[in-house]
């Protein structure tokens, strides 16, 4: 163990990590909690209050006049203001938006037209009138109640039950998986050539790859689409195809892939390659049987980055694949759920979490390679 571990400041280390982790997870936690909240509450109270009982001003509406019953010569409309809410206890009520908390539970409020409203602490209420009441809309009842935390999966249900979400899920996978594997494959071969095969111009090529790391993606969209259309028209195939987007993701991901993989492969012990060569292996054999298995950590880490990127991507998908029903990717589908004018927070929150799930699975399953992968690792003697 590290000797510094034993310093009396260990607790400080724990505390600072805890603090940092809290800082980093807090936003996501907020999202998670928000996604489980009632959608009307989302926009009116902070997510952190969702965990505590809150006092809320609520507007309820009594049933219409058609539900009145005649009792002791009086007309009565009764009901429960708490029905359909999770609120616990009424602490005040009123009948006018001007004075929503004018009365205590159990008190009787005199409505403007002579009707009398009583709301009990348990939420039951009665409107009593001497005359028959009229009007199709019921009386508004304002009340203040303590609302315990309430969570719902409605938001998730809504997102998951949306039409085409399953298909989009598959579309996303169809885009993301080859878009992750193909560049890895291509980059791995290229990286091997750049790391271990002597040929003229190798240094220049490496420099070019590094240079291309920085080309902004947005500016290549139009020239590429034009090219795609040209090619598509020439072969009589649509311009927007899965192959097209795979290649696009491949192109955009290649510089980083080659860069990472070459660095890693160059760090592999030369003797292993040489002994394979002595054993009669060709470059292809060496690559497939020695380099690929040994580079697995690096491949895995790049796979994580590339998968995260392609899975979360919307721009490239929409431009190169289109936004039709049978090609819309998950991110696109979820954004579309927001409606033309956007902004359904409850859908955003739930869908953000749904999109996270797959990358997290990928991350967890490849995580243990990640740390090793980025080391310019040595397999010495092993």
């Amino acid at each position: 163990m590290n000797p510094a571990t034993r310093s009396p400041l260990t607790w400080a280390v724990h505390l600072s990590v805890l603090l940092l982790v809290a800082l980093w997870t807090l936003p996501t936690a907020g999202l998670l909690i928000s996604s489980l909240r009632d959608k009307d509450q989302l926009a009116v109270s902070g997510w952190w209050t969702a965990l505590s009982t809150s006092t809320q001003n609520i507007v309820a509406r009594a049933p219409g006049a058609d539900t009145q019953v005649e009792r002791d010569g009086k007309f009565v409309i009764s009901g429960d203001v708490l029905e359909g809410t999770s609120a616990g206890e009424v602490s005040a009520f009123g009948f006018s938006s001007q004075k929503p908390t004018a009365f205590k539970p159990g008190e009787t409020a005199e409505l403007n037209d002579g009707e009398k409203l009583t709301v009990q602490a348990d939420g039951s209420f009665e409107i009593v009138s001497d005359t028959k009441m009229e009007g199709s809309r019921g009386q508004r009842i304002f009340f203040t109640a303590a609302v315990p935390p309430r969570f719902t999966f409605d938001n998730y249900v809504e997102v998951l039950s949306a039409e085409g979400i399953g298909a989009s899920f598959i579309n996303s996978l169809t885009v993301a998986i080859p878009s992750t594997i193909i560049p890895i494959l291509i980059a791995a071969f290229a990286a091997y050539a750049l790391a271990w095969m002597p040929f003229p111009g190798r240094a220049i090529l490496i420099a070019v790859v590094v240079g291309l790391l920085v080309v902004p993606l947005q500016m290549s969209l139009i020239p590429l689409l034009k090219l795609y259309n040209g090619v598509g028209a020439f072969f009589g195939v649509p311009a927007k195809t899965y192959v097209g987007i795979w290649l696009a993701h491949t192109g955009f991901g290649l510089p980083l892939a080659i860069y990472l993989l070459r660095n890693y492969m160059a760090g592999l012990p030369r003797e292993i390659m040489e002994s394979a060569r002595v054993d009669g292996a060709s470059d292809f054999d060496i690559f497939v049987k020695i380099i690929l298995p040994l580079s697995f950590p690096a491949l895995a880490s790049f796979a994580i980055f590339q998968f995260l990127w392609t899975w979360n991507d919307l721009l490239v998908a929409i431009v190169f694949l289109g936004a039709g029903q049978d090609e819309l990717v998950l991110t696109g589908r979820l954004v579309n759920l927001l409606g033309s004018r956007g902004g359904n927070w409850e859908i955003l929150t739930a869908s953000a979490f749904i999109t996270i799930v797959v990358p997290l699975i990928v991350f967890f399953s490849l995580q243990r390679y990640l740390v090793r992968g980025l080391l310019a690792g040595s397999v010495k003697g092993g």
């Binding site: 959608k39 009307d40 926009a43 009116v44 001003n57 609520i58 507007v59 006018s96 938006s97 001007q98 004075k99 929503p100 809309r137 508004r140 304002f142 969209l221 139009i222 590429l224 689409l225 034009k226 795609y228 259309n229 598509g232 311009a239 927007k240 919307l314 929409i318 431009v319 289109g322 936004a323 039709g324 029903q325 049978d326 819309l328 696109g332 954004v335 579309n336 759920l337 927001l338 409606g339 033309s340 004018r341 956007g342 902004g343 359904n344």
Partner: protein, 431 residues
């Protein structure tokens, strides 16, 4: 496809037009791609309409949309891979596409059809006519689905509780505003936030104010930049908006909240207990963002954004918006779809649901799905002047850029003339 209303069943629909269209078109084996601005619920509504087109023609129809449809259409047309039909709510952008030669003229037939069949036909034709790449003006777009923007939303019961009356003139509206403020309450909820499009709700305000302070032709010149953006007329209209939005006492949250509140959240203040505000200026689509269960006409209602009593000569101007369909790739199916839009049934199906207004004279107004829609139809009908949303008519860089940012700066404290100057500067830069 599933048809929302079974052909022939409900007599308020013009089924004859459907049958007739069905007879004249057979597109089996063909594909039609449509790119539109509608997503979510709106997409479902549009789908219920085009289902009839699919049913009638047997075409395979692919609809797609994008959150950033303005960018998407540019990318697609520029790259040469647009859908057959594109539907956009921004005439300015359409003009741009037309000038680059990406649109197919719809021809004189359609122009004549619009003149004949749309109320105030000429204004629709004007709206849909743009200069092409060759410099010649032609009809490039077909208006379909209109929104009314000059609406003020309120809660009738809250008005009742507080004893407020619906104002009939702008003077009354201002008096009401002051009265509410004097009562210690906040009259308005204004939110300009809209992510990347933050600022646009304010442009509607300014346009409404333009139409209420200036004659329609000044509005038209403004939109075409024939008078500069920093013309006193425009600065005046901006200041009129500022009278409401830049007064801490008049707006929920104070002026500072205006720019950053999301436009989707801000109407919720109408329904809070106690109310955070009493008035909200927004187009006809806003009920989608009201709390669940809100009944329009009962829990919430709207009134026409009134004109100035002092400027009676300007009449009852109405600001509106809408979407226009274009042929971005000339195919028989695309042509047929434009023809389809000319059938009453293409309008009535949507009318019978929600948030659809149409100037098509031959449709059965009884088909409107609910009273508020009908009431909006009436406002449209009573209009003495109808003008399309100015920011949508301006070049994209202004109407969907500098104007928005300018408005954000304006509520953020800049003066109206400074803002107008900077927008004009931006306009000069793209000339």
């Amino acid at each position: 496809a599933d048809l929302k209303f079974k052909p022939g069943e409900d007599s308020k629909f013009n089924w004859a037009s459907f049958e007739e269209f069905k007879k004249g078109h057979d597109l089996k084996g063909q594909t039609l791609t449509i790119f539109g601005p509608w997503r979510g619920e709106d997409e479902a509504l549009f789908k219920s309409v085009y289902a009839y087109f699919v049913e009638a023609t047997g075409v395979e129809l692919k609809y797609s949309s994008s959150e950033n449809y303005e960018q998407q259409i540019v990318i697609d047309t520029q790259a040469g891979s647009p859908s057959d039909i594109s539907i956009l709510p921004q005439p300015g952008l359409i003009g741009d596409l037309a000038s680059k030669g990406y649109l197919t003229p719809l021809g004189d037939d359609t122009q004549k059809w619009l003149l004949d069949n749309y109320a105030a036909g000429q204004s629709w034709v004007d709206l849909s006519t743009y200069k092409g790449k060759d410099g010649n003006a032609a009809l490039y777009a077909f208006p379909y689905k209109i929104d009314v923007k000059s609406l003020v939303w309120y809660s009738p019961e809250n008005f009742e509780d507080a004893g407020y009356e619906v104002p009939k003139t702008m003077e009354e509206l201002k008096a009401l505003t002051e009265k509410i403020a004097a009562d210690g309450q906040k009259p308005w909820c204004i939110g300009l936030g809209s992510g990347g499009a933050t600022g646009w709700p304010a442009t509607d305000w300014v346009e409404d104010m333009m139409l209420r302070t200036q004659p329609a032709d000044v509005y038209d010149k403004w939109v075409k930049n024939e008078i500069p953006f920093n013309d006193p007329a425009v600065v005046g209209a901006i200041d009129e908006f500022g009278w409401f939005a830049k007064n801490d006492k008049f707006v929920d949250g104070g002026a500072a909240a205006v720019a950053s509140s999301d436009f989707r959240d801000s109407p919720k203040g109408l329904f809070a207990s106690p109310p955070k505000c009493y008035l909200h200026h927004q187009a006809s689509f806003i009920p989608s963002f009201f709390p669940e269960g809100t009944v329009i006409g009962e829990d919430a209602d709207f009134f026409y954004m009134p004109p100035y009593d002092s400027k009676k000569d300007l009449g009852n101007p109405v600001l509106g918006a809408g979407t226009l369909a274009m042929i971005t790739k000339d195919t028989p199916a695309a042509r047929a779809f434009i023809e389809f839009l000319k059938t009453p049934i293409a309008h009535e199906v949507w009318m019978a649901q929600t948030s659809f207004l149409t100037p098509y004279k031959s449709v059965n107004v009884d088909a409107y799905g609910n009273p508020p829609l009908k009431k909006q139809g009436e406002i449209l009908l009573n209009a003495t002047t109808f003008r399309f949303d100015g920011s949508d008519l301006m070049p994209g860089k202004i109407g969907a850029g500098a104007f928005w940012t300018g408005m954000v700066d304006f509520v953020g404290g800049k003066s109206a003339s400074d803002v107008a100057d900077s927008v004009q500067k931006a306009w000069d830069a793209i000339k």
